[in-house]
Each structure stands twice: as structure tokens, then as C-alpha cells.
Symmetry: C2
Subunit: 271 residues, 2 copies
Amino acid sequence: VAQPFLQAPRRVLLRLEYEGTDFHGWQRQPALRTVQGELERAIGRALGEAVEVEATSRTDQGVHAAGQAAAFSTGTAIPAARLPLVLNSVLPPDIRIREARDVAPNFRPRLAAAGKLYRYTFSCRQWESVFLRRFTSRVGRPLALGAMREAASELLGEHDFGSFQGASRLPPASSVRRLYLLRVHEEGPLVHLNVVGDGFLYRMVRTIAGTLLEVGLGRRPPSTLPQILAARDRRLAGPTAEARGLCLVKVYFSPGEWLQDPEAAGGACRS
Amino acid sequence: VAQPFLQAPRRVLLRLEYEGTDFHGWQRQPALRTVQGELERAIGRALGEAVEVEATSRTDQGVHAAGQAAAFSTGTAIPAARLPLVLNSVLPPDIRIREARDVAPNFRPRLAAAGKLYRYTFSCRQWESVFLRRFTSRVGRPLALGAMREAASELLGEHDFGSFQGASRLPPASSVRRLYLLRVHEEGPLVHLNVVGDGFLYRMVRTIAGTLLEVGLGRRPPSTLPQILAARDRRLAGPTAEARGLCLVKVYFSPGEWLQDPEAAGGACRS
């Protein structure tokens, strides 16, 4: 059911969730299963037009999302309120549209985002839960939460996070970012790191998680965090924590929105 | 490391969890992947002896367990406290031993069980959560919980549950069973049915769930439950609810133990 563009095309903003386990990350790649690739294929099938979907965050291979935000331009007349149902009927079960709404034709989600909430989850259970194994990183013993909180507090605010930036082909001009929240939250045998910031460098959350893990295991004192930051040298931070523990929980389009969000305080990437 | 039986063999009771998705149920079957089959193979590999594992409940294909109880006889000298670590290192990731302890050589878990807690979970979300899709049955709209609770109360206590028994090759002599608890518990978009009983007929929990679902959807008034029970005719109850929503949460070996168990009150088969 192809629909010609009779006027300036609509722009639609999607809120979506996906389980990253079986995807080679967000970004479309020839011959690999990616979230962008599956989403564009499904929209093409459902709406009868080729679209390009732009995400707020191009999540890495294996990383999950409960609240990714992504936009595309379309000529469809289907009302936004019906689009989740229409698209979910053709999407694979590991991607689901939670919400769709019309936005301005020039809306760019990457530029419009005011902040993002990521959650990294460690499991301190001795055995690896069969139910949570896809969504947590196994530690297998207790963590020193007080030390982790002390370390986390050193990272709050605006810093040059160069020491927490993974190697990438096109590093951004500046590695200065602002962390609004870095909360260490215990939920039974799980330890969540809730991280809100205005933007994140490549692998920054996972490098922070890997560094706080070493603090929690007593391998690195919290007092070393300022030195790590000051050095702007990736080799001084801890290892990159594994992808399956990370979830993009929410994208905020107005500053301070996270302050009203109960998800930023606790919760788990599971509902 | 085969160990000869120098004396009457030890009997070990395991508490284990598994994700039922990729198993053809509990019971060993030639050429099919089953929980019993994988468990016996792993124990054989780790302890160097052939064992037969007896479960309290032979869960069906696709049904999960957070607290299955199963016993086997062994000549190993490995202390019970170390067995979970030893066995988990050779088990596939969808089975995990939570606990092991020594019991009397003639301990039969099926006969010793005083009660069991099952949980059936419906999701009322419009879309099917990518995180919970393996562990919930999707309803996609609100349920009338008051009506479901009224219907549930009709099933409490001792009844002939013949109308809630699936067809099986060897039905038991009596279809009289006692339900101690049938709690309809709301957790955000999820509706859990927590069911404690002294024993369950084949597919009894899923038939109760399918019947209460029809009540919750307004397709069947709660007042019909006594007639369904009285008829002892499977055709009068609702459809069998799908396997993925069901979880064997706990096996109790002393009467009334469930009264002290916080799991019986709420929770979810996910931690």
C-alpha cells in the first residue's frame, strides 16, 4: 500500500524496546541482523515505503533498550496512536514499539535529546539466574556498595571523560560530558547503576561500570577516581563491562525531566 | 573420577531452577532435550557415575521452574555445599542448581512433598514485552481482578478437580485435591496467580489459569465455578493456558511451610 508524498512528509518519533542478545547492535550493516535493519525492513513492509530510522543512541552489540527513541519520515496516513499495533504485528519478537507520536518534520532525535538514562546491572548471586542471565552481568559475590557510591560521587558533574572512552574510528572533538546521576541501587541480589547524563562517549557507561566493579570488589580504592579522570588515559580505568548488563532505559527530550522519573531512582530493565 | 559405592549410597536433594523454553519438559525422552536428560548427563560427567534423578513435579514442555526439588543417589564424597558449584560448571545455562543437601537414603521427593507453589503470569500490556515474553502469557488488555478473585475463592479447599484435569495416559485413581492458596496478585502490568496445593492433576494449574482468564475477560461469570467443579467434565472449564506463563516456584516438604513464605504472597519468577 504505497502512499505518495502529497505534502511535506510526516515525521514520527518512536519509543521502542529491544532485547540486544541476538542483534549486532543498532546500526544497519550488510548481512548482519541489526535493530535498525530489522526496524526499517518491518516499517517498509507495513507501510509500503522505504524509510531511514534515526536513533538517539546507536547501541552496541548485545546492549538492550527499554526506551530507545528513534524517528523516521513517512507518507503514511495511519494515525500515530495506531502505529505501534501495526508495526508490532510485523516486527520480530525481540523488538517492540511502545509508543509513536508526530513531531516536527525537521526533528532530529540525536540533537534533540537533553539526556539519557542507562542502567547497568550486576548479579551478586553465586549461581547465574536462568531468568536474568541475558540481562545481568554475573559477579557471583557481594559488592562493597559504600565504596562504589563513594567512587560514583567522584564522577558526578562535568568532567573530561577521556579515560572512560573506548577506542572508536571517529572520536568526538570533545570528551567533556556531564553526569547528572550515578546511583548505586541494590535490589535483592542485583546491583544496578543508574546513570543519567547529557551525552555519553563510546563505551563510557560500560567503562564506568567496569571501574566501579573493581572498586566494589576491593581491587581499587574510590580515592583513585579523580586521578583516573585527570589522566585522560583509557588504560587507567577498569575493563569494559560486558554488554548484556547494559540497558538504555529512557531518552529525555527536556532538561530536568529525569528528576521526575521514578525509573531513574530504581527499577530493573525487565518490565 | 568414578567412585565405588563403599557403603549405602548417599541421597542428595537438589533445589534447581530452569527456563523451560528450550526443553521438551522434565521427563527424559530419547533424542529430545529434556531437563532430566540434561541434568543426568551433567551429573554423570561431573561425578563420573550414572544416576537417575527423581523430580517432585514432572513439569511439561515449556514450563519454567524457580524452585524444582529433585533427588538422586550417589557415591560421591563431594560435600553437599560444594555440589552446586561443581554441577553448575557443567550444566547448560538454562539449568542452575541453587542448593544441595543430604537426605535419608530412602527419600522420595514426590512422596515427601507436602505442597507446591506454582505461579501463572499474565501480561496486560498492549505490546508483548521483549524482556518478559518468555515468562508471561500475553493478554494485552486489563483484566477484571475482582471477578477473578471471586472465581478463585470458589476453588479454594478440597474439591474433585476432574473438570480441571487434562487428558493423560495414566490418570490418577482420585482427582480430589486441596488448594491452600489461589491468590490473584497485581504487579504493574502483570497479573500473577499464586497457587499452593497439596498436589496437582495433569495441566490443572494451566486449566485453572485459562478459566480465570475467561472470567477476567468477562466471558464467564465467577458464579459458574461451582457448576464447573460439580460436573467433573473437562469440557466445561476454560482452555489450557499456554506453558510459558507457568513457573514451579517452590516445593514445600513440611505442611504449612508456605504460610511463612513471602514468595507465596507476591513476587515474580524472575529473580
